[in-house]
Symmetry: C2
Subunit: 139 residues, 2 copies
């Protein structure tokens, strides 16, 4: 499947190693992840080479073309919140994942859109299993 | 005018005093701010009395009924990012304001929607003036 993986960039990178584990697992399972570079450590430097407008156009185009969007929402991010709203607005299935103990905005946890699934995980391995179940149902 | 003021809640409250100055100035100018309590210090405690679903339904209903949405985006927030996307998706005019030196997601700074204005400010007084100009044009 074509999976748009959304994670915090400007908002903070403290969960970067978890983003990388998720993207590695998805790639290993044969999924296409247009945003895989967003999990990498050099993302902020690389994204500087593009104008903000180019990034916006590229990312929304990827959302339009994806099968599902998976968002890691443990670290607050305007971009990820925007992307979740954008994806739901065009009828995409979205999985929002957060680590147990992190606080999640009620615009996500209280969102009743039937295309949104919100799940908590304890370990990266848990997260990968939850993603696998979500993709099996979506596929 | 009916102004939906969006600010970080779960994402962090370090800009709370600026939120309060903005809401006070808008109220003084005679605008109706359904979200004015979100700028107050006891917001997190008060919002606990509602279910996340109630908060989501209330806030999206307020966005549907507002004339414009004004978002303070200096502190990363999934909720505010979602609200900006939701408001633009239904054709509302949006002003996103941030303090000089803060980093803003490219999903906002690079967004080419003609209903979105992104502005930086130095002082709260600057922010209030920018808001006044925006509302004059929108009114």
């Amino acid at each position: 499947m074509n999976v748009y993986f959304a994670c915090s960039i400007t908002g903070g990178r403290e969960f970067e190693s978890i983003y990388q584990k998720i993207v590695a697992a998805l790639t290993e399972d044969g999924h296409e992840i247009p945003t895989s570079h967003l999990a990498q450590s050099d993302v902020i430097q690389h994204e500087r080479e593009l104008t903000p407008q180019d990034v916006y156009e590229r990312d929304t185009s990827w959302i339009k073309n994806c099968d599902v969007l998976i968002a890691e929402v443990s670290v607050p991010s305007h971009g990820v919140g925007y992307e979740i709203g954008f994806a739901l607005g065009i009828g995409k299935s979205v999985l929002a994942l957060y680590q147990e103990g992190r606080k999640v905005s009620k615009m996500i946890s209280g969102n009743l859109d039937s295309n949104l699934t919100v799940s908590l995980y304890r370990t990266p391995e848990d997260a990968i299993q939850i993603i696998g179940n979500f993709l099996s149902k979506a596929g």
